[in-house]
Amino acid sequence: MFRAAPHRRITLRRVLLYLALVACAAVMLFPFLWTVVTSITPEGTLANGPTLLVKDPTLNAYRTLFATLPMWRIVVNSFAIAVASVALQLVTGAMAGYAFARLSFRGRSVVFGAYLATLMVPLQVLVVPLFIEMKLLSLQDTYFSLLAPSMASALGVFLLKQAIEAVPRELDEAAVIDGASHLRIFAKVIVPLIKPSLATVAILAFMASWNSFLWPLVVIRSPELMTLPLGLSALHGQYTTAWDVVMAGSVVSIVPIAVVFVLAQRHIVAGLAHTGIK
């Protein structure tokens, strides 16, 4: 019903559209391709700048990478912490969002303001006091310490509060009449209806954890707790860097999430979009 224009014009426009899209995809994919290509280029040819034609492709960089660093352990660590952080932020964020959107209590706006205030001081300045605190609690150099600052996020609370406010109250009321408690309303009515926002918070939390560098650098001492950004950073020497190995490390860090995204992107977008059009 959108196609009011003649069929032929649409086709021409489509061709142009595809050309534009392919160009755009090339621009977006190029750096990734370059990363892959550099990672399989023998060390000697790196000096001549990036080429997209590799003469003698080799997997040596990957061998070096896995020999230098406990890569499997590192990937598993990063993944476990990211997943735990996502799960915790979803639970804590949705619950707090429910409290702010649905429960009325004295000082609600003050408390909500305090939540938002936690977003307004940069991590760079919190790292040192937080580290001292972790030391006092004897929690430094543990999985818990890696997770601690990202167990709850005020941004997630904010987003989920907004989403819950958009859910018609009539739905809660129907449940209340049925005798449901707040917990039940939250779990059975609200959560299913805010999946799109939960997906957004999940993506944000995952990316933040996956790329987090400064805090793990400071708080982790044991090699067994190392995460990907720390591992990748350790590949840079003081004077020279083996770029093929660094790029191999980047590929290893990108591919798992890329695969997840490709497999899940329909669900992510659909989940985000909810079910607007039937």
Partner: protein
Amino acid sequence: MKRTRTTLAVAAISGLALLLGACAQGSASRSGTSSQSSPAGDTSSSSSQSSSGSSSESSPAESSGSNAPADAVTGDVTYMEFSANGGHEADLKKIVDAFEAANPGIKVTVETLPYADYFTKLQTAIAGGTAADAFELDYQHFVSYSASGALAPLANVDPSPYKKSLIDGFNMGGKQFALPESFSDVVLFYNKDLFDKAGVAPPNANWTWADENAAAKKLTDKAKGIWGDYQPISYNEFYKVLAQNGGQFFNAAKTAATFASPQGIAAAHQLIDRSGTVMPTAADGAGTPDFDTNLFKSGKLAMWHTGIWMFAALANVPFNWDIVVEPGNTNKASAMFANSVAVSATSKNAAAAQKWLEFLTSSDAMVSARLASGWELPPISDATKLGAYLDQPKPANRKAVFDALDNAVLPPTIERQQEMQDAIDNALTGAAAGHTKIEDSLPAAEKMVTSLLGG
């Protein structure tokens, strides 16, 4: 409603209590933690420090392996460092193994970090009172750490194994705060093939700036993408060209910076005037990671001012290259960089840590591990042990590495080192790119550095 308020108040109060705890820790961390190592808790008192060293020496309570003779130092030592990162981890492991074999009562745990992240981690660890027993410091950072009381003075150090200029460099007010661990210097690398092709005589130890500049002009062939010369435009080069031109960085009392003198301006010109004519500019990519290394390796750079740490990276290049002591102007001067190792002021195991550091900096195991892998140079005084280094094939003129030491200058250091370096880097690069005039920016940087001396 009332209950809600009460609960919130309770939460707020408990939060505040925790905060005060954290703050108190912040302020007390130094005295609190240092009292663990010295009963007096005063890091500035050398007597209490050395007594702390000997007290843990005589207290076997902390020892883990007790097969060692009764008077032996024992314990676990943690050691944090950066210089083994990126290729020398196995060489360091060899030294550790040799040490542990010789000292069965001491176990060394190494934590290696990349240089770029190292000081972020070290500072936070010291602030939190979790610093390793022993850690590595480069010469530029040594002053601020020793002046801040983060380092334990070392007791009864025998200076004889070390090159005198090096061990003296880590002595402050008569106290030895660190041991020299390794050093390296900067020489002029050159691509022999490019010189031959251009019909220019290769550099020798008697060259001056004028010789270098003239050769660079002849060697530059922009059409072919070949540059005559490359010298980074930065603090680490500037302090040296300043010395080559007879300038002084500070006045004698070190109360004011004096590097914007006429000699200093001329030295800065020597650095920046080549940029764009015989030397690639920032716009050409200079300053990006490994730019100069790649340029030289691909045979497109005739002369290159860089450190001897590059030998390994050039092992397989398909052209002839060699090194020579850097050209001077009115004076000869070569840049020297040194790494040192120190014991943390808060170490509970200072004696064992010092024993490890002495081994790490003076043992034969260290000398052979470093020489075999070209891992900078051992800081030792006995030149005969360095023979193995000279015997290696490339570059042919390895002797220049030691010749350069005759006129070595260490970088000027102050407590607020990084701010000083950034100020000078900005003055130089801004002028090199034509955004400012060096006659304006260098005196401004000089003024700023003088203000930094105040603390």
